[in-house]
Symmetry: C2
Subunit: 345 residues, 2 copies
């Protein structure tokens, strides 16, 4: 079965996308894989599988490989004597900007290329943590209380210390700080505003239990991964997270009650359907006093959260066989015909 | 000054986009115009200006004109002996799907092509009337109360009769009905669900004053159009709206108080900045008991609301000189370098 892994992108998460792609390559060896790299200038290259190493890209060696172009139905390699078309489904593995903000989804949909990944609307709503709050709230899924500060706003914050500051639109903990007292505030805001003009402030609750759950829907049925209790420091800084994107060893299932597993699955399902159809997502939750809170949705999780699935390869295959179709719109020019006739021309 | 008008799209509003483009052509005659047609299969054609007539498209004659392709920096026409590049700013005039849902914006941004029109995030938030409510509410701009019904929900409605039913994601009054009593409900919902899986229900208030205001921001300063009180039936059905998209005669300014004009401008500005930068939008408002309510945002209004601007051509030129830049992201491979060094390879 053919599958092309699309990675890179013009994003702060460009490098972790490369790491993710290298990891997923090993986990999907049963597929006939191709590798499509999107560089920071938005050029696409077809990468030789044997060259799927981080240094290929940091040294710029991808530029010696065939450049390919997006076109209706697939990517195309142009040559002196005609062009070669690559028509296979895509696994969108571009983290952050381009991949998770809806850009790649919009383009693949426009060009009628089937893909695994969030559609543009799902991307938009999960890419901005502010919109995720609206969206989850409208479906009755709890999230932490928050406030928003914009770059030009007065730096007056109502949330009590300690709190956590996050750029509204980045993943991978980039620009995130815990602020314990007023003296730390300005620096933390400056860091966050480096990455976004809008930041979110949420209460920081030490010792709160965190649980991650991944899954996807195929033919109306959701496949859930195991529930993981991530083992981590207070939160992952970028370098730790970077290594986190290369995870490929199966993790232990969290030892939690069946009741909690059901609560997590219910919240996952509410968030997932129908918006995220076509994607394998990971939802990160908090448990506070027996209640489940959505922390964030990762619509393209690091290394596709392969380590959470009993049979990752089989899961990808199952989803590939059940990708959502875009409703076709047929233009019949009825109005133009009727108006032209009325005008007598 | 060069400018290409992009129109068509795979959308229920394909035909009114053609009408819009033909209208705008006359209003922007001071520009060196090109015309790029996106057909319902998502192929692009460079249209001969002399053939900019509705029947060119309904008869399929555009297929005899040069097909062009999206590529980095512009559209490209390929030939036997190399390719010709069209590098000019685009006026996105694709109404509805593709144009107003963020797809075209995502693609033009990705390929670094400057354009007038809403960016993808602005598109997404204004394309879905449900998200517009969230967005406006978060900024303190009032909207009518509403409820949401999904296709598979029970058809139980809390809003009192009469109410108005709208597909969540379409413009141009397509699929919209006023429901005066229970016997009309099922048919109206069936019609709306033809076009979307989610519909909005709002109270219908006969005789409420409506006001439209268009504008745009260039270099931090907003240019407002005149305020129009649209002369219309209870609401425009599709055929009337169709004709509405060909409007080119200047309209009379509504005779309203300075206080109301200021209220409308304040609400417009709150909605516009910074999300809609790069676009000429029209906001449609209600006035109820001295208060202004946002009805909807048209981020690509019919014929660009040319008839509301004192100097439409000058306005387009002013905006073209001040289009927003996307923040460039420079990937330096620091992490990959440091990890490769740590691994000794």
């Amino acid at each position: 079965m053919k599958l092309a892994i699309l990675f890179g992108g013009a994003s702060y998460e460009h490098e972790i996308s490369i790491v993710s792609a290298i990891t997923v390559k090993e986990k999907l060896s049963r597929f006939e894989l191709s590798f499509i790299f999107c560089d920071q200038d938005h050029k696409f290259y077809m990468i030789d599988a044997a060259k799927m190493k981080a240094i290929t890209f940091s040294r710029g060696e991808h530029r010696k490989m065939p450049q390919i172009f997006l076109t209706n139905g697939g990517f195309e390699q142009r040559g002196m004597f005609g062009s070669k078309k690559y028509e296979m489904p895509i696994l969108n593995l571009i983290h952050g900007g381009d991949g998770e903000d809806g850009t790649i989804a919009a383009m693949l949909d426009f060009f009628h290329i089937p893909f695994i990944g969030p559609r543009k609307e799902a991307s938009m709503l999960s890419f901005d943590k502010h919109y995720t709050k609206w969206f989850a709230g409208s479906l009755g899924v709890k999230t932490l209380p928050y406030e928003i500060i914009r770059k030009d706003d007065k730096r007056e914050i109502a949330t009590a210390y300690p709190f956590i500051i996050k750029p509204a639109r980045l993943g991978s903990s980039i620009g995130v700080s815990i602020v314990r007292e007023a003296s730390e505030l300005d620096y933390a805001l400056d860091v966050a505003f480096e990455f976004d003009n809008v930041v979110l402030i949420e209460p920081f609750m030490a010792g709160v239990k965190e649980y991650n759950l991944a899954g996807f829907s195929a033919r109306g049925e959701i496949t859930y991964s195991i529930v993981e209790e991530p083992q981590k420091a207070e939160f992952l800084d970028f370098e730790k997270k970077y290594l986190d994107f290369s995870r490929s060893d199966k993790v232990a299932e969290a030892s939690v009650s069946e009741v909690l597993v059901q609560q997590l699955r219910d919240a996952f399902k509410t968030i997932y359907s129908p918006l995220f159809e076509g994607a394998i997502i990971r939802c990160d939750f908090f448990e506070i006093e027996g209640e489940v809170y959505l922390n964030e949705v990762n619509p393209i999780p690091g290394s596709m959260a392969n380590y959470l699935f009993e049979d990752f390869s089989g899961s990808v295959q199952k989803l590939l066989g059940a990708l959502p179709d875009k409703k076709a719109i047929k233009v019949n020019y009825d109005y133009i015909h009727s108006i032209s006739q009325a005008k007598g021309k």
